[in-house]
């Protein structure tokens, strides 16, 4: 089972990273989501895989014999909630960017990377709230 999950995690990481290298902003976000799922599974596997025994101490006993570590599952829960919020924000940001800039292509989003050209005659773009 661990072997199978290891392969699934590997595939998810590969697909996620591949998507992140695409030019379309939407695909980059899909890549980030896949990466998040891969990591959740990775943490899940870190807590050992055991079937059909809850992490409860039996009556009269003082330790758990055969069960999965519940802590990583709590961590995953936290991670899912965080990635939900972050993804929701990223989607809205991507949509807003598309509306304002009119493009979804990462290659065209380079106005903030280059040194702006200087034309003494043309006034600079107006900004507010500096």
């Amino acid at each position: 089972m661990i072997f199978l999950l290891a392969i699934v995690i590997g595939v998810l990481f590969t697909v996620g990273l591949y998507m992140m290298m695409r030019r379309s902003l939407t695909k980059v976000l899909i890549g980030l989501m896949l990466l998040g799922q891969a990591i959740n599974l990775l943490i899940f596997t870190a807590g050992r895989l055991q079937r059909a025994s809850p992490p409860l101490i039996p009556l009269g006993g003082d330790q758990i014999s055969q069960s999965a570590d519940p802590l990583p599952q709590a961590l995953i829960l936290t991670a899912i909630v965080i990635s939900f919020g972050v993804t929701a924000f990223a989607l809205v940001l991507a949509r807003q960017t598309y509306t304002v800039l009119g493009t979804n292509d990462m290659n065209e989003l380079r106005d903030t990377d280059i040194i702006p050209k200087y034309h003494p005659e043309i006034p600079p773009e107006e900004e507010e709230g500096y």
């Binding site: 990591i39 924000f89 940001l93 807003q96 106005d111 903030t112 040194i115 702006p116 709230g129």
Partner: protein
């Protein structure tokens, strides 16, 4: 005991109050100044307590340490909190004028406090997964602050900033997952013990490298810095000053924390990598700045360059090295924030951020020239300002360990920094104004709320220079604690082990 909690509770309370005052921007603005002053006082109280009676620890919900979440304030954390408080107060004052009504109406202040809470949480937590959560609190707030206002450049910068920071968080989380499967604990003090007992040093080093990449993206070290110059110049100057003062420094703080507490199995390997990366970061940052004409972009590249100095002290891994990193942290945050705030005033007075469009400011506004010159010379490392003593300490720590290459690089970069500052001086202040320069607008520039924070930041820089001896002494004390992880472990775990 409860002093440890205050730096978290104050921003949290402020978020709630700011939300209640949603429709009254004036109240929010005053709340920001008063609230961040309270945060600064709380941080000072904590620093005093830690200095007097050692590392302060609080177990949340009274769950004993390694099972519950622990908040720890050692001297390094306390110093970082005080710096956070200072930056918060001054940016809050600057925002009185520097942030427009529209941004306040869309929730600037609640986000400002959320950012502060995330930063304070990251400095205080003693649990590595909790550190991830605080990072996310901080990042979420910074994402929105970056995009707030919705200008073209801002959205474009925010996209790059968000994607690269999410990638970094993903790496951080997966490293934490693997770390848990190796060591079986998330409490940093407990990890410090257990990682020493793990039999496969290769695996621990691999995890260390994952953390290096994750925190390296946040701290903008070479070669992971590309998001910073692409995004930091897009939001309003008050936000940029806040980010430059706090966000990358949280990345550096985390690097210092994990590489002095957790990953000490192969110091010769890991810390040499840090040293080499530090050298490259310095050089690339300052060379990148040389080509820029937008003041904010130029200063953004200098943020990267200065991160290199901070890494250098960590890479040396000696008490002197770490002490100079801590001292330098105080210096660079003050100098950098001051420069960004001055850039904002230059924009108001001169009409543009573009050095090619402005000029002659010295003749019209000599006071602004002085305001710029103090932090600029401090950043370049001229005596008697704080930068000189920070660099002197680093160079001496480097020489003491025979790392001549990095010392030479750091001195050369100093010279280039001076060149870069001279460029702003020549272009903005000295050369005659170009023919069709934007109209000079003196009254818009001279507002006490704008000038005071820049002036105070500059004075801090001067003050750190004149009080270098006691300040360095405090940093050395903090570094001494960092160099003995056993103290941290004993304070957190107490009687458990």
């Amino acid at each position: 005991m409860e002093r440890v909690l205050l730096p978290l509770l104050i921003p949290f309370l402020l978020i709630i109050l700011a939300l209640f005052a949603w429709n009254t921007p004036r109240v929010q603005r005053l709340l920001a100044v008063a609230g961040s002053s309270a945060l600064l006082l709380a941080a000072l109280a904590l620093l005093q307590q830690v200095q007097r009676s050692g590392i302060a620890v609080t177990q949340i919900g009274n769950w004993p340490a390694p099972y519950g979440i622990t908040l720890v304030a050692d001297l390094f954390s306390a110093i970082m909190l005080v710096i956070t408080g200072v930056v918060a107060v001054l940016v809050a004052i600057y925002s009185l004028e520097g942030i427009d009504e529209n941004r306040v109406a869309h929730g600037f202040y609640p986000l400002f406090f959320a950012l502060l809470m995330g930063v304070c949480g990251a400095f205080l937590t003693g649990d590595i997964f909790n550190l991830y959560v605080w990072f996310e609190v901080m990042l979420m707030a910074s994402f929105v602050l970056m995009a707030l206002g919705g200008e073209r450049a801002q959205l474009e910068g925010a996209i790059k900033y968000v994607i690269l920071n999410l990638t970094s968080s993903a790496l951080f989380l997966s490293a934490t997952g693997i770390l848990y499967s190796v060591a079986g604990t998330l409490n940093m003090a407990d990890l410090s013990i257990r990682l020493g007992e793990v039999n496969s040093p290769g695996l621990v080093t691999t995890i260390a490298m994952l953390y290096l990449v994750a925190f390296g993206i946040k701290a903008a070290i070479f070669p992971l810095f590309f998001w910073l110059p692409a995004s930091y110049h897009t939001p309003p100057v008050a936000v940029t000053a806040l980010f430059s003062g706090l966000l990358t420094k949280v990345g550096v703080y985390s690097l210092v924390r994990v590489f002095t507490l957790l990953f000490l199995t192969d110091v010769a390997f890991t810390h040499t990598i840090l040293l080499v990366l530090g050298g490259f970061t310095m050089v690339i940052g300052v060379l990148g700045a040389a080509a820029q004409y937008d003041i904010r972009r130029l200063l953004s590249f200098h943020i990267i360059s200065q991160i290199g100095y901070l890494l250098m002290g960590l890479g040396l891994y000696s008490t002197a090295g770490l002490a100079s990193t801590i001292f330098f942290m105080g210096h660079v945050i003050a100098a950098k924030a001051a420069l960004f705030l001055v850039a904002g005033i230059i924009r108001r007075v001169g009409g543009s951020f573009d050095l090619r469009r402005i000029g002659g400011l010295y003749r019209d506004q000599p006071w602004l020239a002085v305001l710029f010159l103090i932090p600029a010379l401090s950043l370049a490392g001229l005596p008697p300002l704080s930068g000189f003593f920070g660099k002197l300490a680093l160079v001496r720590a480097g020489l003491a360990q025979g790392q001549y290459a990095i010392v030479a690089v750091s001195l050369a970069v100093s010279l280039l920094t001076l060149f870069s500052m001279t460029k702003i001086w020549m272009e903005a202040f000295w050369k005659p104004a170009p023919q069709n320069a934007p109209a000079q607008n003196r009254p818009a520039g001279f507002k006490i709320a704008l000038v005071l924070p820049a002036l105070l930041m500059g004075l801090i820089s001067v003050g750190l220079g004149f009080l270098a001896e006691p300040a360095y002494g405090l940093a050395e004390q903090a570094a001494g604690v960092l160099m003995q992880p056993a103290l941290y472990v004993a304070a957190v775990l107490g009687g458990v082990r």
